[in-house]
Amino acid sequence: MDKRSRILLAVASLTLLLMYVFPIWRITLDAPQYPEGLGMYIHINNITGQSKHDLTNINNLNHYIGMKRIEPESIPELKMMPWIVGFVIVLGLAGAASGKKSLLYAWTILFILISIVGLVDFYLWEYDYGHNLDQVHAIIKIPGMNYQPPLIGSKQLLNFVARSWPFVGGWAAFVSMGIGLWVTVSNLRMRKPNQVVV
């Protein structure tokens, strides 16, 4: 790889460090009687409320519809993500250090695959919580209704507008992937005919 590509690959990898500092995703809930707002942050290893007691209060409100309590300790993805992201960073830095294009391509492909798997997993998680309701103890039962929040975007759930969007850590991941893709494509374009990828 040329020097610029190596630097950019390193920058892209280091950008992912932001995922350890800032939340990756944010889901907010707005309702007329909550002018102060309610929300939760999904961090790389935890889920917390936007304000101190939001997660507890969201769980308490969810008991009306029979939704499971969101308990960060029991969500395995939150234990795996720090390692997965760590591996991607290390791989990228190794690629930048060694200058090998194979590592660059591997990094980009892996990153895309991991992101797709992550988003699908997030969707399935939201599906599970929104559909598998405790029908016996639910107080509000609306036939055919589910409370799956949007993967990305906004949706009306009873009196709440649920909005789901990436947060700083998540945007950092997109930026990082963007840089990685750009470096990959420009390196692919630079290939001379019959040159073996080294």
């Binding site: 102060e36 101190k52 007691h53 507890t56 209060n57 308490n60 009306y64 107080i139």
Partner: protein, 652 residues
């Protein structure tokens, strides 16, 4: 009749109609004239917006404090202080009952007159609001992050604590003073022996240590009626001024007998000097019986008996107290923002006398005394007077300041507020009040830096100002714009109780410090529970403790069996919510007290003594959730000798 007679008659009738018409339109238009068209926009706080000021109005005979927003006149809250409040269980719950304990026992009411904000550098700082209790002499402290009464101190050797709780510029002391002289110490004697036997006290109470309010010392003074007070500031910081009337020392028909003397006194107390004397051992400890009640760390009121108080007499400490002659039966005493002028409202006087602090100091140095009363030098009137405001209305009472060089004095009898210039003593404007204004309040108006935009007239007579509501009417108040040269009436609104005085502070100073919930992990109530798993019912002989939790929308436990007739049952209700504005209430059939209103994270206890066997429902009284109507429970009371065991559950 001749044509000329008819013409004359017609002209005469026409003239009468014209004169009558002009006359009729002359009366009653004052009110319409002083309301300018833009008054509505000045007081309109649109939905979703907040007022500029918090105003704290005393409740007077209600014993409470009401909080209102200015300029809208919105009633924000009733803060119970000296009177029980069944609405939220203040004075009924086990945790709050001790606040109303006194040397006479539990007293469920008092008469609260004057709120006073805590000050730092002579400016309200938004920490606390103090207020006096008149009937059973006391002072109370309200915390301005929770708007709850946190401390009440009874005043010993006192009768009628009216001239209270005026505070020094750094909240070192607030004062109490006796409206009614009594024998000190109390004893049986003929009332006719008032003169020479009944005395007054001026008490200095340490005010800047929350939880430790204490009478630092009391000055024993001649038996006059001590009425109001205000602290010196700036150059006069270190002095406290009290008005007195009834220097005639009458004990009956004061209306006539206390209105005889041409001049009564303003008592000027050099409290820094008094402090020095007391520290050096002057005065003596007198046995006394009074109570100090305060909310402890667990937010439970504790009531502690005190048994002595330090008393100092004028002869024990030279240069401590002086009398300034003041016409005539003075009521309010107010110190201007510069600290130089001491304005007294002589309610039967025809002028407003203004004393000068610097002249007073000079007169003391020159020993310009006209006489002495029981060891207290009386300064010569001409030596201390700075000026007299003439044409100041009939029955001047109280003065506040706008910080722009003007003073505003209420005139009760002529029902107006008079604006005059400090230094020239000239009246520059007057505005009617509706009706018979007592106190007035300018935010910061008694401090070193008034916020001179609004003024509130607190009236004693309402009559036709609002829709009538039977014979007993709410006291009226008017909001007046004082930002310009001329005063303008903006708003007229009713108040709760009888606000004698008020204090106001810009909302920004306290609104972001308001407590929204109590953190459950910081709840130190010994009967608190942290989660539904800890809920239980325990019996200790005839006493049963119910550890009850509330959360939307159920009690835990909500079915309790095994109570017996005559049991002393304590429901310790913990609200497990940690969400803003989700209180829960608790009431049980047959309880002879009130409901509980429990804030998120808080524990409050209600005592219940079931008198007859049966099933007693209980329920949440504050609409908490969509399923509030389902938030209920049952308590089973069995006969005294039954063997029904104690059991409790929620759900299966």
């Amino acid at each position: 009749m001749t044509t000329s007679f008819k013409t004359n008659m017609s002209l005469g009738i026409l003239a009468l109609i014209l004169i009558g018409g002009i006359g009729a339109s002359c009366t009653g238009t004052d009110q319409a004239g002083s309301m300018s068209g833009d008054a509505a926009s000045k007081v309109y706080v649109p939905p979703g917006s907040l007022d500029e000021f918090y105003a704290f109005m005393s409740g007077g005979f209600s014993g409470q404090v009401t909080v209102m927003g200015l300029p809208s006149g919105r009633l924000l809250k009733l803060v119970p202080v000296f009177s029980q409040n069944a609405e939220n269980g203040y004075g009924y719950s086990e945790e709050t009952k001790p606040m109303l304990n006194t040397s006479y026992g539990f007293i469920p009411w008092d008469d609260s007159h004057h709120p006073e904000l805590s000050m730092t550098d002579g400016v309200p700082d938004g920490r606390w609001l103090f207020i006096n209790g008149n009937n059973t002499p006391r002072v109370a402290r309200i915390d301005l992050t929770t708007f709850e009464t946190e401390e009440i101190l009874q005043i010993p050797n006192s009768g009628g604590n009216h001239g209270s709780p005026f505070i020094t510029p750094n909240s070192e002391y607030l004062v109490a003073s006796t409206r009614f002289s009594v024998p000190i110490p109390q004893q049986d004697m003929s009332i006719a022996d008032y003169k020479d036997n009944f005395m007054g006290t001026l008490s200095f109470i340490r005010a800047n240590e929350p939880g430790n309010m204490d009478v630092a010392f009391q000055i024993l003074v001649p038996g006059f009626n001590y009425d109001l007070a205000h602290a010196g500031k700036g150059p006069s910081n270190g002095w406290m001024f009290f008005t007195s009337y009834n220097t005639e020392q009458a004990n009956t028909l004061l209306e006539i007998n206390a209105s005889q003397n041409d001049k009564d006194f303003v008592a000027a107390v050099n409290w820094k000097r008094a402090e020095e004397c007391v520290a050096a051992g002057a005065g003596r400890d007198m046995a006394a019986d009074y109570y100090h009640n305060y909310m402890n760390e667990a937010r439970i009121a504790e009531s502690v008996q005190k048994t002595s108080v330090r008393v100092i007499e004028p002869t024990d400490c030279s240069d401590m107290i002086y009398y300034l002659p003041t016409p005539k039966s003075p009521h309010g005493v107010d110190v201007d923002p510069t600290g130089e002028y001491i304005v007294a409202g002589g309610k039967l006087a025809t002028v407003i006398p203004v004393h000068s602090f610097s002249k007073m100091i000079q007169a003391i140095a020159d020993k310009a005394f006209e006489t002495e009363v029981e060891g207290i030098p009386v300064l010569k009137y001409e030596a201390v007077i700075a000026g007299e405001v003439e044409n100041a209305g009939l029955g001047p009472l109280h003065t506040e300041f706008d910080g722009k060089g003007f003073a505003y004095t209420t005139a009760f009898i002529s029902s107006e507020i008079v604006k005059w210039e400090i230094g020239t003593w000239q009246v520059v404007d007057r505005i009617p009040t509706y009706y018979s204004v007592g106190h007035l309040m300018i935010p910061g108006g008694d401090s070193q830096k008034p916020w001179g935009k609004y003024m509130v007239a607190l009236n004693k007579i309402t009559k036709d100002r609002y829709l009538p509501t039977g014979p007993e009417l709410a006291h009226s108040a008017q909001l007046i714009d004082i930002s310009g040269d001329k005063m303008k009436l903006l708003l007229d609104f009713p108040t709760m109780g009888e606000p004698h005085y008020a204090q106001a502070i810009p909302a920004d100073l306290i609104k972001d410090k308001q407590v929204k919930i109590f953190a459950i992990e910081e709840n130190k109530n010994p009967y608190a529970i942290r989660g539904e798993g800890d809920t239980r019912v325990e019996r200790e002989g005839n006493v049963v403790h119910v550890y009850l939790s509330t959360i939307r929308s159920h009690f835990s436990p909500d079915n309790i069996e095994g109570f017996k007739v005559g049991d002393e049952v304590y429901f310790h209700v913990t609200n497990l919510e940690q969400d803003w504005d989700v209180p829960h209430g608790f009431a049980i059939m047959g309880a002879r007290n009130s409901e509980l209103l429990v804030m998120p994270g808080e524990t409050r206890t209600l005592k219940w003594v079931p008198q007859a066997a049966g099933i007693y429902p209980f329920y949440c009284t504050d609409f908490c959730s969509a399923l509030h109507q389902e938030m209920q429970g049952y308590a089973r009371v069995s006969p005294r000798n039954s063997t029904v065991p104690l059991s409790f559950h929620t759900g299966e």
